[in-house]
Symmetry: C2
Subunit: 221 residues, 2 copies
């Protein structure tokens, strides 16, 4: 069963919460690198320009890690967020498309460590198959996608192919048994409801900057 | 004057609004491609899984484009959003770094049309200088950044260099007179308050999918 859809409001809410947990995790890792042992929501808020009420609300959902007047234990809270985000285990990832974007993502810091392991890049171009990325990710034949996903227990697929190939690749990734897909192709996909899809629209970032520049020009920023 | 900072709450609010305007624009472009002339906030909400009250609130800020019982004029509202986002003119962009990521961004659909024009890729590697991307963007010497920005009135710079070079490139882009910078390097930059910075952390997208997968495993998704 397929359904045409753009990102829903519920997706946005869930993504916002998850995004904040990711931000808290980065803040805590930074504090840990400074050997700081405890932190209050007020300090987190002031230091990283966040909202302290929002922090307490977000973290309250996950049980009690704060002590009144003392704050949170940095390493305990960090470990807890890592578990909540499900990155306390290693999830296998494959990237469909070994062009510039696929190769860049394969070597992107944070895509192949601390919870994620990129098993392979996949491509149909015989000239690319057999190559490895700068950090050592192999390019394998796209036709082997189902075998690779099954043998290596891959959970997440990344679509890094041109727009006109994206739907076929999406369908093939779903058919191979993946549960979650990250799509970089700027195209609206007919999606399977049982597979979580996150589409990244990089142009929105440029529009955000343009909106800022227009505000400066208009004297409203 | 530099300041260490992570994204602030105000940035997030502004980014959320801008992001929604970008989403509305995509919905309206789609309706226009179907030759639909008017749309109500309720239909926009139902069709694209958005929140109708939020739509009315977001669009109310920009004046009156809706008629009770009729809805919005699709092409008028679209043109208005294009003006609000400041993409009714062409803004020049340069990309620092002509590696896999820079080349992918130079050819990324939406980065070089409808309001944005990529003037050049910049690199220090003599082997890359003089090449052109698949869509024809030239790779020019990084040492010419200030001249290119001034001569071509470039407004936006994109950092697509390795993490260890990102701060130097940021400082050079700011010194060359750019007003807005999009950073893809996974590193915390010491920033200039007068220049708008948007950092893209692609790993957050993987963490979002992991959070979903964990929910499925736990039976809470």
């Amino acid at each position: 069963m397929t359904q045409n859809r753009i990102q829903t409001d519920r997706d946005v809410v869930s993504e916002l919460t998850t995004g904040r947990l990711s931000v808290y995790l980065r803040c805590l890792s930074y504090l840990q690198s400074l050997h700081q042992e405890t932190v209050s929501s007020a300090e987190l808020a002031a230091r990283f320009h966040l909202n302290s009420a929002q922090i307490r609300k977000d973290l309250a959902c996950f049980g009690e890690f704060g002590t009144r007047g003392v704050g949170y234990n940095v390493s305990q809270l960090k470990e807890h967020l890592i578990r909540e985000l499900g990155i306390d285990r290693s999830r296998k990832v494959i990237i469909a498309g070994a062009g510039n974007l696929g190769m860049a993502l394969a070597d992107y810091r944070g895509f192949n460590d601390n919870g994620f392991h990129i098993a392979a890049l996949l491509d149909v171009d015989p000239a690319k198959i057999g190559r490895i990325s700068r950090t050592g990710i192999p390019v394998l034949p796209y036709s082997d996608v189902k075998r690779i996903v099954e043998e290596q227990n891959v959970e997440i697929g990344i679509i890094a192919v041109p727009a006109d190939a994206a739907q076929d690749v999406y369908d093939a990734l779903v058919a191979s048994g993946l549960s979650a897909i990250l799509n970089f192709a700027p195209v609206q996909l007919r999606t399977n409801e049982k597979v979580k899809l996150k589409s990244v629209d990089l142009r929105i970032n440029l529009e955000l900057l343009s909106f800022y520049l227009k505000g400066v020009e208009d004297g409203t920023a």
